[in-house]
Symmetry: C3
Subunit: 210 residues, 3 copies
């Protein structure tokens, strides 16, 4: 299996997880119909990357890679009608882990894409990495009338930001170690996310009350 | 009257109806000043098409067709100060019908535009057709702090989605019947919308509870 | 000091003020962590201009002028941890004045940029001028779950709209007086804003109840 294939598989897994957790989270609080579920699942899965590409001024990624669209649509559908399966505690926890892996992968791959375009270096790779990872979820929360991630002390975006920052530093000073940097950054972000889910760690107080 | 002229007249009618119903709906729940009314009416009327064009990477339609802007601005103004006229039950009902005709027309014309650009076929014409029809209303609801369409069982976007899907299928297999497909898709969407308003039909339960 | 330098200094001052007032306003109502503060401060400072450039189809301004990003990030950080300093009544009032100066400057400079591109004349310079001035604040309010400016009778956007309109009229009929028009429009908007803050003037009733 090549490195590209691995990236592709993880991206697809992340897409599925983004859509499924999106639908489950909303469904828990609100009645929602199958159309709303698919739209919100789809937006969560591809919304961040869409905003990234619009800001970059490049063609929106899913216009030439429709598998993201099909998979997110199908996963949203599945999450709504297979809610009993996916909402079971262990399965939901597993989905949250995959969702964290997806956020880490989307963030770092986005940072790499921005870096390759030489767009707004060195700040933009970090900004657009974070936007790619959390942007779709922000739109979903706004459309569903939920409190957005930005107003919760959950450790979700900060690890992505730290990972993208480390990744950019390595790209600048050790460009020959790019693949390793990518893998380590994704694993680093993912580990913090898993730890924060497992031990229910939130942002520390000094970072919260200002 | 040519076919293009007819499309133009219906688009303009839809623009007026979008702006008027937008202002009436918000005004019913909240105090709003004339500036807010015009901004929200304008966004409702042209917001969906603006997002479509940005995603397509083509110039925003209203930059070369300012009549959409003037008409939406004027209609919003009219809706605020002529509220007594437009909020009268029969007139409001009539406006809702025109709004439904506008959504149908905007959706199908958008799907055709995306099809002609060969952008993300076959999924994007449906996605961007729906976005064009409901996107402006979604932004309005978010800015006005209202529950968005996605969280209500109203039959508004689903007919547009079904219509755009049929339209794309016909474009693929019977491209020679494009004009007829366009007319029939618009009428089909419009009929479902009128029926749903008349008999207060919402999404069926199997599609709602998941 | 050249005229460009003056514009630059005021733009930077506006960026600082946008970020600081954004963080203070949110922090007053909600707990927020340092990540959320920086994201919301940054969005408030550069969000409007980002949407303007996307609609114009030109490269996003901050991709080649990262000082806007650094300054907004640093100011947001400062506002969170130096809250006691900035939230003191006189200092906060001073920040509101700078914020008003920023909105005036961003609006008029944006209108000039749109004018120079010949984009959607004569309506687009006014629309995108207002969007540049208030767009970031609108996104912030939506993401933070606050009532947006559009639903409040505050005199904030209307002076910008009036100023951009006068500016466009002068550009059309007296293009030789551009610099003076720019200065006077900014000062005009700023004066109305200062007066509205000082005497707590809101939109007049005939403009509110419709």
């Amino acid at each position: 299996m090549t490195y590209e294939t691995l990236n592709y598989i993880i991206s697809m897994t992340g897409t599925v997880a983004f859509a499924i957790t999106a639908v489950l989270d909303i469904r828990e609080e609100n009645d929602i119909d199958v159309f709303g579920a698919i739209v919100l699942g789809l937006i969560t899965a591809v919304g961040g990357g869409t905003m990234r590409d619009i800001i970059l001024g490049v063609p929106v990624f899913w216009s030439t890679q429709l598998d993201y669209i099909w998979l997110a649509t199908f996963s949203s559908f599945l999450a709504l009608y297979g809610r009993k399966l996916f909402a079971a505690p262990k399965m939901y926890r597993f989905m949250l882990y995959l969702d964290g892996l997806g956020a880490a992968t989307f963030g770092i791959l986005a940072a790499g894409k921005v870096w390759d375009l030489g767009f707004g270096l060195p700040a933009a790779p970090v900004i657009l990495g974070v936007l790619t990872a959390i942007g779709g979820g922000l739109i979903r929360d706004v459309l569903a009338g939920r409190t957005t991630l930005l107003m919760r002390p959950e450790l979700y975006a900060v690890p992505v930001m730290l990972g993208c920052t480390s990744f950019v530093i390595i790209l600048e000073y050790f460009p020959e170690h790019r693949v390793m940097a990518e893998v380590l950054s994704i694993l680093g972000i993912f580990s913090i996310r898993v730890a924060s889910l497992y031990w229910k760690i939130t942002m520390p107080m000094f970072a919260r009350t200002g």
